[in-house]
């Protein structure tokens, strides 16, 4: 920081007009060198390796698991392994997959809906207590609510929700982070004039939300939706606690597969992990750019 402040201000101004030229002069600093590429590609390889490896094992046979050196090339048993995985009733993998899609979708839609609604209210409507309420939400974002699982579990028990899907849906229908994110985005994305004009036309507040705000929030809402979907999909501790083996999510199925007593079908376990990753990878491939944008923007705005 001292380096910044001690610099004479005139110097900076002198540089500015010929900025373009200067940049190319010191441009080497900002061009990625071959070494940078090598390092980054190395990082990507390390990042991808465990995932790729689980896919490789999922194409091999059980004999290969113990081989030394370990197999690094795909084999030809993928279909057979998937068949075995789906036929394994104990883990209920297909049910887990369906349940996870269902749960994640419902939670995502709900979080996006309630977040945009509340975010709009905080950003564009005036009401008493708005600031205090917003501050409260910001604080809750920092609170590890997972530590309340014991009473939450007792609550589920009292409501008779244990071993049903609403136990993993209802507690997660809203998200403080989502409200905050939508509020930040709505502040800049929606002009007050537009809302006022709609009011003059006699639109109710909900119509304004539905017809003006929601479409305007779409990019940010999409990111929120993607992040929520992935988070819900990956949730482990709570579903493991409150779901029965009859009604698993995919993560619970995986745990059942991986630690089944007397189960030594490791290739099937790997096939399960690989299959559980497929929906996420698809989402990531299609929406990766938006997800990255969301993470980067979210951090700057927060």
């Amino acid at each position: 920081m001292t380096a910044v402040t001690t610099r004479p201000p005139s110097h900076r101004q002198a540089v500015a007009p010929s900025g373009k030229k200067r940049r190319s002069a010191s441009g080497r600093l900002w061009e990625a060198s071959p070494l940078t590429y090598v390092c980054l590609i190395g990082a990507v390889v390390l990042s991808a390796f465990p995932i790729v490896w689980s896919f490789i094992i999922s194409t091999r046979s059980n004999e290969d698991v113990y081989k030394i050196p370990p197999p690094f090339l795909p084999g030809g048993n993928f279909i057979a392994n998937v068949t075995r995985l789906l036929e394994n009733e104990e883990a209920g993998f297909l049910i887990g997959l369906t349940n996870s899609i269902f749960v994640s979708t419902v939670v995502t839609l709900s979080v996006v809906f309630f977040s945009t609604l509340a975010g709009f209210a905080f950003a564009k409507l005036r009401f008493r207590g708005a600031n205090a309420a917003l501050l409260f939400i910001i604080v809750t974002m920092m609170v590890p609510t997972q530590l309340g699982i014991i009473p939450l579990y007792i609550l589920m028990q009292k409501l008779g929700w244990l071993y049903t899907l609403q136990a993993v849906i209802v507690p997660f229908l809203v998200k403080g982070f989502g409200v905050f994110m939508m509020r930040q985005y709505a502040m800049s994305a929606i002009s007050d004039e537009l809302i006022e004009a709609a009011r003059v036309d006699g639109c109710s507040t909900f119509r304004i939300y539905w017809n003006i705000v929601l479409p305007a929030l779409r990019p940010a809402a999409a990111v929120l939706g993607l992040l929520t979907f992935m988070e819900t999909w990956n949730e482990f501790l709570w579903p493991y606690l409150v779901l029965n083996d009859d009604t698993p999510t995919v993560q619970v199925s995986l745990k059942l597969l991986a630690t089944g007593y007397y189960t030594t079908d490791y290739v099937m376990i790997f096939t399960g992990t690989a299959m559980a990753l497929v929906p996420l990878l698809l989402v990531f491939v299609v929406f990766g750019r938006q997800i990255i944008g969301g993470i980067m923007e979210g951090s700057v705005k927060a």
Partner: protein, 434 residues
């Protein structure tokens, strides 16, 4: 604000509402409706491990039309037991028939209100069809309530790897192998001989493997006295077995493995140890892990000391079941002669039903994988010599969560035997006190 996007939003909202409404019923494997087509009642049976109950249930389903059994594997005991405890306590979640491990049974017998009294459902007449100790074992202390009917018992033998015995210059034929050891000291001495031959394999998988057979043979109590007081610290046989087990690892006779871990599984594939105390159900474990290429390499000899029991289970009907009558019919068949034999055939689970034990299908049975060993004869003999042992309410947890890990720590050299013992006793007291 195109029409499509508005329509999309409306759909999304509708989907959300519908989804919430659906979530209570959607995508559940269990079927709550009582009857399917043609008045058939389906009862669910929840079991852990591979006791052969699934195969027995399939056989039942093929011969019965009025009742169907939906057998569900609930994974490992350590995962199943906490869940079952929750289900019984909360009155929801359990199946119509549940499997109880003998190490956990006392816990439920002390608080039996979560289970149906099988005496009332017609269990009274079944008394003479079970091994006496197994029949008694399923009742509460006051003998007024029958909670569980016996399924398998873990009659004991000693499994050994023939190729490793041959390498060490030992006899490989099962009668001669049985003659090598009449007690545990002889067996351990053989282990030292084996080690001296440098076969590259250990004598046994882990120090903890001898605990169960050793204690079961020599005592009628373990961690608890018969009035359910914790005596794990003062019961001499426990410490004796502990010292014997860790003595083996001190002499380098154990492979220092942890049962049920993938490394243990790998050790079967790689023939890393030569002997393994073998309850009847263990033969299924061995064949599953050692795989087809090791077929005929494992064989079964008698256990040092000649008898014993390791593991075994009961089936019970939770009070919360709404189909107790049908559940009892299914239960009766499963624990009966046919069910017992079917489970034995499928998984090597040895029946506790007397008629099944006397049936040629059991008595004369041979295990093809284990070099055609006459397992019916070997395990049957062990079961007859068996003395029942009292396991208290927290037995399973005391063993698996307290004593076994400490023993493993001592075996791996992370802790000394004395320190591990002191810690195990301290934690054990705490756990038993609740």
């Amino acid at each position: 604000m195109s029409v499509t996007s508005r329509r999309l939003r409306t759909y999304a909202a509708a989907a959300l509402v519908a989804g919430l409404a659906l979530s209570s019923t959607a995508c559940s494997k269990s079927d709550d409706s009582d009857s399917g087509e043609g008045g058939t009642v389906t009862v669910t049976l929840q079991y852990f491990g591979t006791p052969g109950l699934k195969e027995a249930a399939e056989k039942f389903n093929s011969t019965h039309t009025d009742i169907k059994i939906d057998a569900q594997n609930m994974g490992e005991l350590k995962d199943f037991d906490p869940k079952l405890t929750q289900w019984i306590a909360t009155g929801q979640g359990a199946g119509d028939i549940v499997m109880l491990e003998e190490g956990n049974l006392q816990k439920f017998l002390l608080e039996p209100k979560g289970f149906a009294n099988l005496f009332d459902l017609g269990g009274k007449d079944l008394k003479d069809t079970f091994l006496p100790y197994k029949w008694e074992g399923g009742q509460t202390a006051d003998k007024k309530k029958l909670v569980g009917l016996g399924t398998d018992i873990g009659g004991l033998a000693m499994c050994y790897r023939k190729d490793l015995f041959q390498k060490a210059g030992f006899p490989t034929e099962r009668d001669k192998v049985s003659a090598l050891w009449s007690d545990w000291a002889q067996w351990a001495a053989k282990g030292e001989e084996f080690k001296a031959k440098n076969t590259g394999a250990a004598w046994i998988d882990s120090a903890t493997s001898v605990m169960q057979p050793y204690i079961m043979q020599k005592s009628d109590t373990w961690f608890y006295s018969k009035d359910n007081k914790f005596i794990g610290d003062s019961n001499p046989i426990v410490k004796q077995a502990w010292d014997f087990g860790l003595g083996l690892s001190d002499k380098g006779l154990t492979a220092k493995l942890v049962r049920w871990n993938p490394d243990w599984d790998a050790a079967f594939k790689k023939a890393s140890f030569a002997t393994l105390p073998c309850p009847a159900w263990m033969t299924g474990v061995i064949s599953g892990r050692a795989g087809a290429e090791a077929k005929g390499q494992w064989d079964v000899a008698t256990i040092p000391g000649g008898s014993g029991n390791w593991g075994g289970s009961y089936l019970a009907i939770p009070e919360q079941s709404k189909k107790k009558k049908q559940a009892f019919e299914a239960l009766k068949w499963i624990t009966g002669k046919e069910g017992g034999l079917e489970a034995y055939k499928a998984a090597g689970a040895m029946p506790s039903n007397v008629a099944a034990l006397d049936d040629p299908a059991f008595k004369d049975s041979k295990n093809e994988y284990m070099n055609n060993a006459p397992t019916g004869q070997i395990f049957g003999a062990s079961a007859k010599a068996l003395k029942p042992i009292h396991l208290g309410p927290q037995h399973q947890n005391l063993w698996e969560k307290v004593f076994e890990p400490q023993m493993q720590a001592a075996e791996s050299g992370k802790s000394t035997s004395a320190a591990a013992w002191a810690k195990a006793v301290e934690d054990g007291k705490k756990l038993a006190a609740g």
